[in-house]
């Protein structure tokens, strides 16, 4: 699994399906957003989608 350098979305694809950003294999931590509309964590991180995100990407 790779993480998007821009939006931190975790994906198996070659480009970030959310923002088209470049991917990195150097990432750490994970947050799984189940309901981004009512999640304070998603709001805090500026995430506007459900799915898996890294907490840190290099």
């Amino acid at each position: 699994m790779l993480a998007c350098k821009k939006c931190m979305f975790l994906t198996e694809q070659e480009k970030c399906p959310l923002c088209g950003g470049e991917l990195s294999k150097e990432w750490q931590g994970m947050v799984v957003i189940v309901d981004h509309e009512s999640s304070e964590v998603a709001k805090h991180m500026g995430i506007r989608a459900n799915g898996k995100f890294a907490l840190k990407v290099r």
């Binding site: 750490q28 931590g29 994970m30 799984v32 957003i33 189940v34 309901d35 964590v41 840190k56 290099r58």
Partner: protein, 169 residues
């Protein structure tokens, strides 16, 4: 975000507060638990909004959602690598876990003396030693190895990858 937003319990439409709490997991399986729990919560329509697995929090994952202990116990029952809910009355506030969520400055992992490889821009592929770090600007000043005269070059912290840590730091 205002303090009010962080402390006021959201209206969950139930008698239980929406909060953050922890569950205990097997060491090294935190991310797997977060993924599985996310899928299961979605499938079962559980009142969970996010699951957080910070690297530094070993043996636990954090759940953001409605703290209905019975419903949570039911949800995690039989799940691989899950050791149960962490008991106690105390809930975790967003403030307390913010440091796990805030993206760390890119240069935080780079130290003066480190040897880095530049991965993009005009110096792509060059190796260099880090001379100075400006965390606020997320910039680093490096000395290129290949240059005849070592002229310090200032570049963005995200265009390098550390290939050797300075052991004497």
């Amino acid at each position: 975000m205002s303090t009010e937003e962080q402390t006021a319990p959201a209206d969950t439409g139930s008698e239980f507060p929406r909060t953050i709490f922890a569950i205990k997991t097997a060491l090294g399986h935190e991310k797997t638990v977060a993924e599985n729990l996310g899928n299961k919560a979605k499938r079962k329509g559980a009142q969970i909004t996010s699951i957080i697995a910070p690297t530094k929090l070993r043996g636990y994952v954090l759940i953001e959602g409605v703290k209905n202990e019975k419903a949570i116990e039911e949800l995690i029952k039989g799940m691989q690598y899950v050791h149960g809910m962490v008991g106690g009355e105390k809930d975790i506030s967003l403030k307390e876990i913010e440091h796990y969520l805030a993206p760390k400055p890119i240069v935080a992992d780079i130290t003066e003396g480190d040897i880095v490889e530049i991965i993009s821009g005009p110096f792509k592929g060059e190796k260099a030693r880090v001379k100075q770090i400006d965390a606020a600007k997320e910039e680093i000043t490096v000395e290129l190895f290949e240059a005849m005269v070592s002229i310090p070059v200032t570049i963005k912290g995200d265009v390098v990858r550390v290939i050797e840590r300075d052991e004497n730091r």
